[in-house]
Symmetry: C2
């Protein structure tokens, strides 16, 4: 049995002469949506789907749904085939961060529930109205849940359509793939920014601790990228803590003390999701004790909690901060490897749909020495609602740094500098909602 | 009278045959130091001084002082002439952020005070020991104060030497120059990152306010750069507040309300230094009311204070963050215009010293249409301890945005992408303290 399945309904329908659906030889339409949090490469995958649809002998029109499944329910669609006749526009779309079609956080109901019947009946009516037979959903874990439910519903309602998930997440925590599109660029931004922060911290001679919080609630993949400067510089973070290893505050403080013996400026990278052995998030302590001017409990975050503890213990200069939104949308720092793979996975998704493959996510399969990537469909049921953690062998025994094996895994993913097109000193972005925008200075009154 | 002065002592000494100083025809040595906060282009200026010294017929050896004036007092020096025989090394130095020589925050005593006599006598002994006759100090406002005091002291102690300040600051708040080296690159990073954050904020349809805090305690130059995306996109910040205009919380909240009438996601850029009409910093309110787990008053910052107020008024999703250290050290995003000018000003400083000019800072003089920059020495006494604010005509009447005139000023400074050299997927940095570093994986245990 193959790892994915060929949509039976489609096979049947295509081989029949049933009037309600076009024959195999006739072209049908496809739809693509984006979902979940932004990444710098999510539109590269959209570009890949657009390229793929242009090359497809099966697809006539590719529709884009604004705000994912929401746009499909509301028929808030655009015609991507008409919008992207010029390859330069697709190139600009490729370098535009965050879902150009908009995103959503909708969780579909169970197809067999009462609510599900209503939702899916409506959805399939929309699909039928636009003669849509292929569905591409670019997203993370929750989006794969959407793909799984749609596949199940199509079977349940006997609707002939292929549903394909295309991964994206900076978190790199999806199962069924060596890594995820978007991770390489985010990791490159974090590695480069960390190296810069390390230079910044090294200019003074006073005793100081700098704590940098990096995204990753359940997996430390992004934080691991902070170690990249260690490969060729003596400016590397001194300590790195991932959520995969239980955090011990006393151990953390003695780790810092150990570092102070050799140099005055200690720089630390931590995942936002580090937890104590009892499961409490390190940031929780702060949340419950800091109160703002309005009496609200103030969520200060993980690094801030550590800052308080370090200040209390050492009394030295301590600062903490995070890379915040830029780490997931810094498209001025795209990894060429990531963008090329992100385009490739989008194209491949269309080829799979053309072959009648459904209910799958397209994963990366990797070979090393030299590093290469191939694509393969993975049953979405094996992926949805699971988290791929950083393996223990990628973290040192003390639990306060990553290993060379981790960097061997990570390095190929951040290689290459994407040749970004600039205008007015900043990267050019494509605005899908107002694509033919004239110079717009309306804000400058 | 010229705007700068020729060091009289030097002229005298050079024309005499006094044994203690070399004759005019003999080469002498020079020293360069860096001071103040990091920028992404401060080493481009150091590279310029190195290039300049190589071309100079007057300078034999160029010494680098580690940690500015501290290194001069402690004779913690390096020989830059010997270290930089290869132009590729200078190129890598150019793209390395934050003072490669290290920085300091030392404020020199008054030359005529008791403490001053001790300090300057020692300093001039060091200079004499190394036959140093030219002094270059790359720094901001405080560094120009150092140059002013040294010039005064040289006159007072009759020591024949030229002192030249070379500007650097991301804040762009130095007088005597159209703009400062380092500002263009920081502004480019902020403009590009702001554009990316705007894309990120636009993907959802829920009502939300995002507040981005940008560096600038006394001047809003960096925050003004957040408006650059407004030129060619409809994704631009909705509101921009600079410290030059007194902040009014009620006005701020009604500005947001006005924006909610047309779109759900409101994005705001604020300078860290915005103040109420009575002079209180907006961040102060938070400082005095938030208490951490150890009972400390917690400095939450300007954006956080605004976040609390917006949340209280609108009850919608509100988030705030700042670009923190990356905005001053993001050398992966150097503006080519900035780097070229930063190198040029360093070279020019050496030429001025060779001509016996002293007691000055090198400023940029600008012509527009087309934009060009020339260099000129400005008496340091006119510059030190002053702040150049954003002029009122660069801010709109309502005080909640910048004007086109502001962007006309700003745009040429962020132009061009510096062709950064990468290794292992991140920019290559030059480590002045361990220049011949072998691959160093000591952190990866």
């Amino acid at each position: 049995m193959p790892e994915y399945f060929i949509c039976n309904f489609l096979k049947e329908r295509r081989s029949s002469d049933a009037e309600e659906f076009p024959k195999k030889s006739m072209k049908y339409n496809a739809i693509v949506g984006q979902s979940g949090g932004p990444t710098a490469a999510i539109n590269a995958t959209l570009a890949g789907v657009i390229y793929g649809a242009k090359l497809s002998h099966e697809i006539d029109t590719l529709y884009g749904a604004f705000n994912g499944i929401e746009g499909m329910l509301n028929e808030n669609l655009c015609n991507l085939t008409e919008l992207f006749t010029d390859n330069r526009d697709i190139e600009i779309l490729t370098q535009t961060p965050a879902a150009a079609l908009g995103s959503c956080r909708v969780k579909l109901p169970d197809p067999e529930s009462e609510k599900g019947k209503e939702t899916f009946t409506h959805l399939f009516e929309v699909f039928q109205k636009y003669n849509i037979r292929s569905f591409f959903y670019i997203g993370g874990n929750d989006s794969m849940d959407t793909v799984a439910k749609l596949s199940k519903a199509a079977e349940f309602y006997d609707y002939p359509m292929q549903f394909i998930g295309v991964p994206k997440t900076i978190d790199n925590d999806l199962c069924g793939t060596d890594h995820t599109p978007g991770y390489g660029s985010a990791a490159k931004f974090i590695a480069a920014s960390m190296q810069e922060v390390l230079r910044d911290c090294a200019v003074y001679t006073v005793k100081a601790v700098t704590i940098v919080e990096i995204m990753g609630r359940d997996a430390g993949w992004l934080t691991a990228a902070a170690a990249v400067p260690a490969i060729l510089s003596n400016h590397a973070p001194d300590l790195i803590y991932l959520p995969e290893v239980p955090f011990d505050m006393e151990r953390f403080l003695s780790d810092i003390e150990e570092n102070f013996k050799t140099h005055p400026d200690v720089v630390i990278a931590v995942s936002e999701g580090i937890r104590y052995a009892d499961g409490r998030y390190v940031g929780e302590g702060t949340q419950s004790n800091v109160i703002d001017i309005f009496g609200h409990k103030y969520l200060a975050g993980t690094a801030k909690a550590l800052e308080f503890a370090v200040k209390e213990r050492f009394g030295c200069k301590v600062r903490s901060f995070d890379f915040n939104l830029p780490q997931r949308c810094a498209a001025h720092m795209l990894a060429k490897a990531d963008v090329e793979e992100a385009i490739g996975v989008g194209k491949y998704a269309v080829r799979c749909a053309d072959q009648g493959i459904s209910g799958c996510m397209i994963g990366y399969e990797r070979t090393d020495a030299p590093y290469t990537i191939s694509y393969r469909p993975v049953p979405v049921s094996e992926i949805a609602n699971q988290v791929k953690a950083v393996p223990r062998e990628f973290i040192n025994e003390a639990g306060n740094y990553v290993t060379e094996a981790c960097l061997d895994y990570l390095l190929p993913l951040i290689q290459g500098e994407y040749p970004t097109i600039y205008q007015n000193g900043i990267p050019l972005h494509f605005d899908l909602k107002t694509p033919n925008l004239e110079l717009n200075k309306f804000k400058l009154r």
